[in-house]
Symmetry: D3
Subunit: 131 residues, 6 copies
């Protein structure tokens, strides 16, 4: 599968793939595309589908863009995904995340992973007030 | 271990445990304590230690209290912890989370879990720009 | 799949399945078999294979039987497996685990899950001394 | 533990270890053994036990060998195991997996991880029709 | 969040939601919709988006529909998602999965989870032949 | 975030950070501090908090220090945390873990991860005797 894991650069991309790259760059107001999309491009239906998902889900909504990135990082750290941590930490920083905010984020992620296991170990029953 | 998984009610608690319960209720401005603490109370050093952690980490800081709860939920959903999802969803609602915010949160959590796996499957190399 | 998830009782079991049940009871010095084996029994090759694995791996070795159960619980809590937590907590208790030992076990499991996520978030490089 | 993580080559292996290597190569019709087995070989009982498991579970049965590899990859990607993804992707390719099949596999793995989290977040009750 | 976790029945659904339900039933050739969609319906953009994803990813392609369900189950079991295991096991059975195929599937999932951890513990280096 | 992921050496650390480093070295009877603490030091409240947790939880108690490390490794392997596996394997070795003990530990971790998934797949009901 080595070949299918090489990023497809814009210059080498089909028109179909280029149109997605163009939309990614326009939406993000940047002049480059990161490896996730360039490797996914080996299967254009997946490239298009995932971009439509990301564009819809990560668009500003009732949650602001920085909060959305913090949530993304929380999941990525919990799953131990190095690539995702790197890419979404960069995105969060671009959206204004401070060093102290990052430290607090990491502290919450750690604590939640700890208490999640306590809850499993102790077989906690959900309090009536939470239902 | 059945006995050690029964919540210890305030009336049955030692002075040491009551002092933690008191601080939980005072800090949260409520008149009750949820099962996590009441079961952890079978081991007072753990009860005190975890409360000190939660109090410090979840206090208002450079991230606001609602954002902290959203991050907590993101971890708890990723780990599939039913108790934690219930308790922190209640906490987030108390801090103002709307129904639409919850729906957006769930969408981001799902998407992040999806792309985390894509990143693993595709053996993505971290872009130079992210370092 | 409902039917294949019903435990197969000894009275209803084939000779092949009974021979495994007999060995489980003899090895454990008990007169009953728990649901894991009774449901796995719908596929005798899996029943026999898994019992041979469990018998070999959980036998006394350079680690004592109680330590082996504590390790099993640590994995099961991290994976959030309610059945496995219940069955191996019972086994550990039968092998002498005290209430305080259980509390310490839960504390370590929680802490390890916390620092595991910190390590991912902080992209820690392994110290030369650890190699 | 550095020494115990070095692969044991055939030339350096004991007769007991060689007999497992021989069976691996004969069963797979190849002339080499991959690192998983060569590192596991530091503990011959584990080497023999795991090979017996793999041989039995991955043998052609009511599921064909390629389907078995796809299932293996799905688990390995979900767990983020780089070695396992690499080795079983190679095995799947040897058994005929096409590039498009791989892309579809990755899409399903991602989607399942996404909806698994939705199900947890939404506390879904199992439909009567599924029981 | 209790209210937002109640399934929205067809009779109570908006035209927008009904149109998705209609497409689900038509595509699957059934006369009912399962809880996943009926709870997701509280947020119509998520309902529509997820259905478009599922429809595209699970459609017959270079992998047949039953194989796709087996992959889905492998992920769901690894994540411990009870709802997903129930729903996709039912789907797989409807697509012809036999009892023995299910047993073999479960055996592979278990083995892969086991060796995934061995690979992590042993810090396995990827063989040159796998690259 | 690159800068905040660089270890802070003793010579460059503030008095507050140095006091924690000093306590780590005194408690462990060593003359160095590993990267986990040196990276966490970018956020002194987290550094102090986590050291207090680790010091309390990993202190000798009703479980001996080596057993505590084995439990830590079991969690770290299950979560696939390379840094944590390396650091706690080194710690366990320093506390007397033999090569055979390590092999047995790895075997139990693998088996538990396997049967955890079987339990989920088979929807096992907890035996009355375990309650």
């Amino acid at each position: 599968m080595t070949a299918t894991r090489q990023p497809i650069e814009y210059a080498d991309a089909s028109a179909e793939v280029r149109s997605v790259y163009d939309d990614i760059m326009a939406t993000r107001n940047t002049d480059w595309v990161n490896n996730y999309w360039k490797v996914l491009a080996h299967h254009p239906p997946s490239l298009r589908r995932m971009w439509e998902n990301a564009k819809q889900v990560m668009a500003p909504g009732t949650l602001d863009p920085l909060t959305k990135e913090l949530i993304y990082i929380a999941v990525s750290v919990t799953n131990g995904c190095g690539y995702c941590i790197a890419s979404h930490t960069a995105a969060a920083r671009n959206k204004g995340m401070s060093t102290d905010q990052y430290s607090e984020l990491v502290a919450i992620i750690g604590l939640a992973n700890e208490t999640n296991r306590h809850a499993a170990a102790l077989d906690l029953q959900i309090d009536a007030a939470f239902r």
